[in-house]
């Protein structure tokens, strides 16, 4: 994935800015606005996995919401498949940090409602069969009849990923998908996500706080400067050959290079003093050894 410039365009983020109204103490609009991020401009190519990393408050999740159509940009726009995004749709499925599974539906039905929406002309057995295929790929076989409340966070996010992939969207949007999953399970599901991505040739945009996660999964990593008035600082290519394993990744000099690059960027942006004060504590590479023996050191940012 070194040369992505000659591949087909999946999504264009065209000079997107987002302003929020400034609220007075009583919650009323003061008429002023402040800019979260401005002029964000990049292309996502078909089959590409691109991640966005940045400090809290840089507007990563807001940008993802704009891509999904949950929110509107203040200026600029998102173009998917030649059309500007104005509302949510099946061509841009989201994997939510909070899983967002309907607690009154079984796992199977949570995936099935998506399949049914994407293929309204299919018969019931066809829908079931397609649903089962994605349930099986995500290792959910045997849990079909369980409700989300009976499942661990990891299992729930597997359902979330199955639901997003099963409609074969143009672009998949992952909003910190592993943030609420314990470290041991996280690695396993990251591998499953990689497998799913390679099988389906999906185009993925992921927002994350986890640098190692970004390096493991991504072809390119977009770095945001700090908000307010955050900007897309740079996009780094990750030239680690695929299929990747964690072992290969740690041993690769490319991994060390990319990781250092990103960490330097993030630390330098924390020291600029624009970041909220509570983050300054973690500024000195707050690296802790991960519980999973074979996985690299986790750096929380």
């Amino acid at each position: 994935m070194t040369d992505s410039s000659n591949r087909k365009l999946a999504m264009r983020v065209d000079h997107v800015s987002k302003n929020f109204p400034v609220l007075s103490g009583s919650g009323n609009s003061t008429g002023d606005t402040f800019c979260v991020f401005q002029n964000v401009n990049f292309d996502v190519h078909e089959g590409e996995f691109i991640s966005m990393v940045g400090h809290s408050g840089c507007g990563k999740s807001t940008l993802l919401n704009i891509m999904a159509g949950f929110d509107r940009p203040s200026s600029g726009g998102i173009i998917v498949d030649g059309k500007e995004v104005t509302e949510p749709g099946l061509d841009r499925m989201v994997v939510f940090q909070s899983f967002a599974l309907m607690p009154w539906l079984t796992c199977f039905d949570n995936v099935r409602v998506a399949v049914r929406s994407a293929h309204p002309d299919w018969s019931s057995p066809e829908i079931d069969e397609h649903t089962q295929k994605y349930i099986d790929v995500m290792g959910l076989t045997g849990s079909e009849k369980k409700r989300p409340a009976m499942l661990s966070g990891g299992m729930r996010q597997r359902v979330g990923i199955a639901r997003a992939f099963c409609v074969n969207p143009k672009v998949l949007l992952l909003d910190e998908p592993f943030a609420q999953i314990d470290a041991l399970t996280r690695g396993v599901i990251q591998d499953e996500l990689m497998t799913m991505w390679q099988k389906t040739n999906a185009t993925v945009f992921m927002v994350t706080h986890d640098v190692d996660e970004a390096i493991l999964l991504s072809d390119r990593i977009a770095l945001m400067s700090n908000g307010p008035e955050a900007e897309l600082a740079k996009i780094i290519d990750v030239n680690i050959p695929r299929p990747r394993t964690r072992q290969q990744m740690i041993e690769s000099p490319e991994y060390t290079r990319v990781r250092n690059h990103i960490l330097k960027f993030l630390i330098s942006h924390q020291k600029n003093g624009t970041a909220p004060p509570e983050q300054n504590n973690s500024a000195s590479t707050n690296s802790t050894s991960s519980a999973a023996g074979d996985s690299p050191q986790k750096v929380s940012v």
Partner: protein
């Protein structure tokens, strides 16, 4: 054995029964009149009491008197109420004229009025609540009306209802309807407007039609709040039906309470009150089952 004991909560049930037995015993003791004693009473006083029918000659002991069992001025004890229950349920479906219906008919009549009013109010309440919950504008427009209508006791409408509807049965149904409407409307609107944003986002991602969104996301998402509204409505309707039936004097268990009071049959009043308690208990446990069926764990 021990598992069964805990499964059916036998310990607490035993304690409940023990408390019931204790209360009945205290009731029994406090309502038992002492045997008649002629000590300290002049012959004139005894003659007056006999003429008033308070005492009768003892059939076993010549020259002695006992309390007249047919005219006991004291509050009835539990045994009298049990006798009344037995008498009423041994022939529950008799009909002797317009005023003397068996308790079975009365219960069925009250249940019918209650069911029609409550179910109609629940359907209207859920529909109205969903509309208000979905539309901020509609909420702003209708909220003042709701705030004014909500605190009005449903019984307060009765003169107007009698004047317009006239038919007593329909007046009772409408009182139940009004009593059970507002809590369902308010809770449904609250439940619908507080459905988690995530679920609505999923619905919009999957491009659900209005109907599919309604039945797949909104109704199940708001179900716990709707059911709690239905339960409040249920109690409020059961509370309202008693004075409505008393005032209307048509039929029903509430009417029966007043009839027994007119007959000065206190045991009958207690019996009718207990029938209300039992009806509420049985209906509430049915509602509880329904509530468990539609609730979910996040």
């Amino acid at each position: 054995m021990k598992a069964l004991f805990y499964k059916y909560k036998l310990g607490t049930k035993l304690m409940s029964f023990g408390l019931l037995a204790l209360l009945l015993f205290v009731w029994h003791l406090s309502t038992t009149a002492g045997a008649f004693s002629a000590d300290g009473k002049t012959d004139d006083e005894i003659m007056l009491m006999e003429m008033n029918g308070e005492i009768i000659p003892d059939p076993d002991n010549k020259g002695q008197y006992i309390n007249n069992p047919d005219k006991v001025a004291t509050f009835p004890g539990p045994m009298r109420v049990v006798e009344k229950i037995y008498a009423e349920f041994s022939n529950p479906f008799h009909r002797k004229g317009t005023n003397d219906h068996g308790i079975g008919w009365l219960i069925l009549y009250t249940l019918g009025v209650f069911a029609i009013g409550y179910i109609a109010a629940s359907l209207c309440g859920i529909l109205l609540g969903v509309l208000i919950g979905l539309s901020r504008t509609l909420f702003e427009v209708l909220n003042p009306f709701l705030q004014v209508l909500k605190p009005i006791s449903p019984v307060a409408w009765m003169p107007l209802l009698l004047y317009t509807v006239q038919d007593g049965k329909w007046v009772a149904i409408l009182v139940v309807f009004l009593a059970s409407l507002w809590p369902t409307v308010a809770n449904t609107a609250f439940g619908v407007s507080n459905i988690r944003e995530d679920y609505l986002r999923v619905a919009s991602l999957l491009q659900f039609s209005w109907f599919r969104r309604f039945f797949t996301v909104i109704l199940p998402g708001a179900a716990p709040a709707i059911v709690s509204g239905l339960r409040i409505s249920f109690v409020s309707a059961l509370v309202a039906i008693v004075p409505a039936e008393m005032l209307l004097g048509e039929l029903g268990v509430g009417y029966n309470i007043w009839m027994e009071w007119n007959n000065l049959d206190i045991a009958g009043v207690i019996f009718a009150v207990l029938v209300f308690g039992a009806m509420g208990f049985i209906l509430d446990s049915l509602l509880d089952r329904f509530a468990k069926g539609v609730s979910f764990v996040e």
